[in-house]
Amino acid sequence: MPPSTVSYHMESWQHVQVHICRILGIQLIFLVGFGFCMSSSFVSCEVGRCTSNVGSTNQSLNIPPYFEKYITKSYFDKYDSLLDSDFLDFISHELFPGSCELLLDNLNLVLRLSVQQRSLIGDGSHRHLSSSFRFNIQSELIAELPIHFCEAIIIEKLPYGIFADPFELQHLLQRGVFMDAAVFGDTNLELPSVHSNRSLVEVHMDVDLNTFSRHKDGLEINIDLPLHIRYPPLEESGYSSIELGAPDLFMRCSIEAKSHNQSCLLMLKDNGVALGNGPVVWRVPSGIKAHARAVSIVTFISAILSTLSIVLTSVYYSSTKLCKNLKQS
């Protein structure tokens, strides 16, 4: 191709590139302006609280906890971290102030809970907590209660070192696996156990007591909750064992009253039936403290050796090439 044609094509191509650059620049300015307009009305929100409330839109501060969409949300409005003793107090004093005593007494007669099975499925750092709960129902009594709608609320208080991914739960919600789900507490997905706090998962499952009352075996709810492990503290043995406690189970029913529907919350306790396969324990590999010194020394020696190799090679070959260039010129 003759040089004049080459230079013509190159000039044309350069004009095209300038044009592309101008278009990209204009689009960039447009996008920044667009984003500026959108952001001028954004809602200020603490990251931790907002990301822990998947799907929650309830902004009211005066609604009793048992009326809120997520009954444990108000716990984290009051407390900074999850402690078993504080949570027990919260359940006793704030979740059950008492307005549905008659219904609750009747529901207690009607429903008997037995936790059937609980196990961790999978290996490694990402597993599923599979739980199965069975309720025995006295069908002749259930029809007499003015129940409009019920939902089972399962609260998993996760120990240190285990967390649920709120975005993964949102994906499951979109697929209809749960009716509702939220994570509260420490939702930082990246910190090791040492620098993190506990979290809690609240899962809602739809329950139609009238449908299930026709079944002799009663009502069974199965939940498969994806969980992940944080890097545990260092251990001499190289493994850390984390025990998952039993969940707290509630039934919240909407009852028909004269002027409006009312929500009633019932805490379901097991009948003393033992879990079929014992407590759930997650065995996690952990760093070994005895490795610390050797690892630090070898790490830095490796870094130094690599550095020296690259530095010496660069200096040698660039000087060689410089001398060659000087000789040629």
Partner: protein
């Protein structure tokens, strides 16, 4: 195969992969889409509803990225993947442009281009929804702007890319050095050194030659040329303008998540870096200033020496710096490899390394040590075995492989400064090379 056909075929491949990715996400347990893409999309939908993208935890990027992906919520969730894949193709186009400007023969151009377009790592990264191709495209565009003498444009895009991703800050000194007054005059198109065949270096003497003691003052004052000052001022102004704008919009959340997090990041979780196990074993106590400085020293030293030795050969300097930067970083994830993959085609025409067997041994060693690391990583993360020590040794072997490959590339590279020295008449107004540029 000509460049147009290569690009068309690559575009088709990427479209098919994006479609396949959507199918896999909907029908299989393991998703094709990168987790990061879900983070970007969530942040973009927050922006679309007038909220801060930083309400999405683990979103640690400039808000610009969320703005770019707003159409994910309006048009289609795959919009971002198409945008990243288009950037990927743009990188290919820019590679071809740079090599053409340096008069590399068409067949070599095509081979070099294929190294980018048909690298499985490259075409999967954009189609899986990773945003690195945008950064790569910007960096190559900066090189093109410099080659065409467009300092202001180069400065604008450089300020923007540093705001977007931070790591390109390592290119600041080589760019300043390459704007050598002996080679680069502001307002005029510089003379590029052309490809003259493998094994033959160009005739120009590198401008980083040490001046004599009488000329040191002259050398120091001549460092502050119009081009250099303008580049520094404009790129700095652009960086601070974007940073200031987003600080105004999103306050400390933006500053912490998009900037400070990356500058102070120490991740104890397993990754390719040799430092991960050391960080995990010492995570319970804060690292002292001395410890931080010691771990930063290898990185600093390598960058400094590479800049001093190779700055004038700008594409090669960028490549070597990026490989070293990634290898010595405290955290290494697979997406960082794209940062130097996009620069590799720019240096291949100047390499004397034969594929048989030096080239092949480099490729096999690099991939082999990576696969070795991934095997131990799988046993740790998905099988729950305590293989921390083995994994850490694998990361040291990976560093050794990176060092070996970089040494080999330096050894076989034909040093070729990007710009030729300009010849001036006695009046200093009559330049013999090039024409006026914007």
């Amino acid at each position: 195969m000509d460049v147009r056909s290569l690009l068309l075929f690559s575009a088709l491949l990427r479209v098919l992969l994006i479609i396949y990715g959507e199918w896999q996400d909907a029908h299989m347990e393991v998703r094709y889409t990168d987790v990061d893409y879900l983070v970007f999309s969530d942040a973009a939908s927050l922006v679309a509803s007038g909220k801060s993208p930083y309400q999405r935890s683990t979103y640690r990027y400039s808000p610009l990225l969320a703005f770019l992906l707003v159409p994910n919520s309006i048009i289609h969730p795959s919009w971002g993947k198409f945008l990243f894949s288009a950037s990927d193709l743009l990188v290919g186009l820019f590679i071809h442009t740079i090599l053409e400007l340096r008069k590399v023969p068409e067949n070599l151009c095509a081979c070099a281009l294929m190294v980018w377009l048909f690298n499985p790592f490259t075409f999967s990264i954009g189609t899986r929804g990773n945003c690195e191709p945008i950064v790569c495209a910007m960096i190559l565009w900066i090189i093109i702007c410099l080659m065409n003498g467009k300092v202001l444009q180069a400065a604008f895009w450089y300020g923007l890319v540093v705001h977007f991703r931070i790591y390109p800050i390592i290119y600041s000194i080589p760019i300043i050095l390459v704007l050598d007054p002996h080679c680069f005059r502001y307002g005029l198109k510089p003379a590029l050194s052309s490809w003259v065949g493998q094994g033959n270096s160009t005739q120009s003497i590198p401008s980083t030659a040490v001046p004599d003691s009488c000329g040191i003052w002259i050398a120091l004052t001549s460092m502050f040329t119009r081009a250099r000052i303008l580049f520094g001022l404009i790129s700095g102004a652009v960086f601070f303008a974007f940073t200031g704008l987003f600080f105004y919009l999103y306050r400390w959340e933006f500053l912490h998540e998009a900037l400070l997090y990356h500058l102070t990041r120490t991740d104890p979780r397993h990754n390719f870096s040799i430092y991960f196990y050391h960080i995990y074993l010492h995570y319970e106590h804060e690292f002292s200033v001395v410890e931080r400085l010691i771990s930063f020293l290898p990185q600093f030293l390598v960058q400094l020496v590479l800049i001093i030795c190779f700055a004038q050969d700008l594409p090669f300097c960028f490549f070597a710096q990026t490989v070293a930067f990634v290898a010595f970083n405290k955290v290494i994830t697979a997406q960082y490899f794209v940062w130097f993959f996009c620069l590799l085609p720019l240096i291949l025409p100047w390499s004397n390394m034969k594929l048989k067997w030096t080239g092949l041994s480099c490729i096999l060693l690099w991939m082999g040590t990576q696969t070795h690391w991934l095997t131990w990583g799988y046993l740790l993360e998905f099988k729950g075995k305590n293989v921390f020590l083995e994994l850490w040794i694998a990361s040291i072997l990976f560093l050794a492989a990176n060092t070996f490959v970089l040494i080999k590339i330096i050894r076989y590279h034909t040093y070729s400064p990007l710009f030729q020295r300009l010849e001036f008449s006695s009046s200093d107004n009559d330049l013999r090379e090039g024409k006026k540029s914007i």
